[in-house]
């Protein structure tokens, strides 16, 4: 089938602002959108720039806005879009550096702010710290996050203010807050109780829809809100 891609282009060494360019390519319905971008890069325009690495939805490099919704370009097939017109734009809310490449630093800054690491100050035992399968299951969902930023950059609250810590950072905090072995839940909940913390979330669910790992992000945020409000971890 023939597919028409309308791609947002911005070259900081030439352009004052982004514009669209259109490319027609032959595609199989089972091609990944990433495959089409690769094809365009190596057969139409070598300057087209985007990040990618694993190409199967694990490394989190290639989050982009495709037909108005955030996806990983490697995890959405042409047939999934139900259209032979595909619009590709960079994710929103982060500075565009070149074409699909945005400045990820503010995103990682929010991530680093929630103590996104295991804290347990007791001397470790000789073997593993025990954890029941049920305790392990309690935070399983939020361990899946690949830090692709699809959630945070789909969130209207983040678009409104990039000081908002954003769903990905809350997911990272949730992963530790609900880990029975961790000891820094109180500090993380205090951080998230900030004016740019968890209560900026207005339960719009864009993040949950955008997550390529199918993490129930809005639910995780709700649990964190409740923990702050009640002072208890259920």
């Amino acid at each position: 089938m023939q597919v028409t891609l309308k791609i947002s282009r911005f070259n900081p060494e030439k352009d004052k602002k982004p514009h669209y360019e259109t490319y027609k390519v032959e595609a199989d319905p089972t091609d990944r959108v990433l495959d089409l971008l690769e094809y365009i890069k190596w057969h139409h325009d070598g300057t087209l720039s985007f990040r990618r690495s694993c190409a199967h939805g694990i490394c989190g490099s290639d989050a982009m806005r495709i037909n108005g919704r955030n996806y990983l370009a490697c995890k959405v097939l042409v047939k999934d879009l139900h259209s032979n017109k595909i619009t590709v734009e960079p994710i929103l809310g982060l500075r565009v550096i070149k074409d699909m490449i945005v400045d990820m630093e503010p995103f990682f800054e929010h991530y680093r702010s929630v103590l996104p690491y295991f804290v347990n100050n007791d001397p470790p035992p000789a073997t593993e710290r025990l954890q029941s399968p049920e305790q392990r299951e309690r935070f399983d969902d939020t361990t899946k996050c690949i830090l692709c930023a699809a959630c945070t950059t789909s969130c209207p609250s983040f678009w409104a203010s990039d000081s908002y810590i954003g769903p990905a950072a809350i997911v990272a905090a949730h992963r530790f807050i609900y880990d029975s072995r961790d000891q820094a839940a109180t500090e993380r909940l205090n951080i998230l109780n900030d004016q740019f913390g968890v209560f900026r979330c207005h339960t719009i669910f864009n993040c949950t829809e955008a997550c390529p790992r199918e993490i129930q992000i809005t639910r995780a945020i709700g649990e964190v809100k409740k923990a702050i409000a009640t002072g208890r971890l259920d």
């Binding site: 070259n11 900081p12 060494e13 030439k14 089972t30 890069k41 190596w42 057969h43 325009d45 070598g46 300057t47 720039s49 985007f50 990040r51 990618r52 690495s53 694993c54 190409a55 199967h56 939805g57 694990i58 490394c59 989190g60 490099s61 995890k75 097939l77 550096i97 070149k98 490449i101 990820m104 990682f108 680093r112 996104p116 690491y117 295991f118 804290v119 347990n120 470790p124 000789a126 073997t127 593993e128 710290r129 025990l130 954890q131 029941s132 399968p133 305790q135 392990r136 935070f139 399983d140 361990t143 899946k144 996050c145 690949i146 830090l147 992963r175 530790f176 880990d179 072995r181 199918e214």
Partner: protein, 596 residues
Amino acid sequence: MKTHQNEVIVVGAGGAGLMAALYASRSANTAVLSKLYPTRSHTGTAQGGVGAALGNMEEDHPEWHTYDTVKGSDYLGDQDAIEFMCSEAVQAVYELEHMGLPFSRTPEGKIAQRPFGGHTNNVTGKPVPRACYAADRTGHMILQTLYQQCIKNKVQFYDEFHVLDLIVVNGAAAGVVAVELATGELHTFHAKAVIFATGGHGRIWEITSNAYAYSGDGVAVTLRRGIPAEDMEFFQFHPTGIYRLGILITEGVRGEGGILLNDKGERFMTKYAPTVKDLASRDVVSRAMYMEMREGRGIGGKRYLYLDVTPETVNKYAAMDGRHRPDGSPIHLTGEEILSKLPDIVDFCRTYLGVDPVTQPMPIQPTAHYAMGGIPTNKLGEVVIDEQNTVMPGFFAAGEVACVSVHGANRLGTNSLLDLITFGKHAGLRAAEFSKGAAFQPLPSDAADFARQQLDGLLNNQGTENVADISHEMKAVMFDQVGVFRSDEGMLQALKTIRELKERFKHARVEDQGKVFNTNLLNTWELGNMLDLAEVTTFCALARHESRGGHAREDFPKRDDVNWLKHTLAWTVDGEIKLSYKPVTITKYQPKERVY
């Protein structure tokens, strides 16, 4: 040009690089350079588990793990290094747990373990659950946990800095040259010790499980600096890649009872590995699959087979084999358990194939997966540069880019993650220790010239050759002729093709002449690395007149311990490849016939 100075520079931010950085940074000023964001590293795609004889499910011992690894390596692994790795494994896994790694758990709350290919109870010969896992995203959890610990310990990162060259002064490593992707500027990183943890080069084959980033930068850079590469003919083809895409389907699927089936619905592995069947080591299974397909028993006569993990099939064959749960009850796997133990596999198949593994078999084919060969090191991570294992001062390597050699001619599943954490840690410790007793070598005034010449050469050659065409032809000939089965005739053809492609590459066209995120330029530079490694791989494979592990020759079908129980070393000298050999370290286990 900017110059930075650190006592230790780590290149690559996957499992080995981050582990090295964590340990080096405890006592030395350390920085990590990666061409990606650290969490994009390929370690994150590892699925099934990390091997360690914890004995949480049933009896197991590091000695059994050692023997299995020696046998898995087809006796080409160095036994002192293997014994070191397997005995370190238990503490290494506990250490990851203490860092917070969310392993799956047994009912008693211990780290859960599953069987994997080639890991056995040395008394009964039956598979033993040795792979410590976090669902089917063990590598993801290792990468995330180590990155988190690096943040906690304030390790310094230079993200999206692509290393192009190693600076060598007076025969010692003195730093690296890297291009900052965001600006296109070259930076010099002056160091007392450099650790390469840059990963593998599976992208030189058409069907591969490897990331785009796996372009063999580390080995290509060191070959250009006169450092040899070891055992490059040994590359692992994982039996179960998704048909045509190559995306990995973990061996953990077979660990959970999944069965390989041919077009007639036969469980063909009983013919090739009567004792452990579907859980034979990877080289054995990939060859068996090729033989089935060659004899017309691919599905519909095509070049793929089925991997079936539907509860009906799993339970049927478990009963036939007399396998049971750790508590002795019969295995009765449900669709729900498959989903909870293998969620990503289910997701990949649904996304890319429209196949649901809970109810349907998965179409799979062998996929280029792992480099056993690489930069020669000893078990401390020190790079050794000749037949006598002479140490190169200040230079270290760990992870897939290195060849210790613990994997020999064939790596066992779960031993790559173990390799990363063990040798990453020791390379980091040793590099920090070295830096304390060493002075900075004086930097040459032209430190960045060689890197700059390479990039300028690509930018300014007014070329007409399409990079994607060269890349495609390389991958195709490597997959057809230097793949699971090899022959003199096919490999000579491959070598000729690769050399023609290298000529054409001199006229490769780089359209993007800009500075900012010039991925067009850097991906083209990566192709140059891949062509170099394709040539070396083929050259080493042609020379080795035997079949051993992942190197299977139609014209020399037997292992030949009299002539070939030795490691290959390859140098590039004035554009020519020169080979030499060094002995394998054998301690407890004399080579014998390898039967599964």
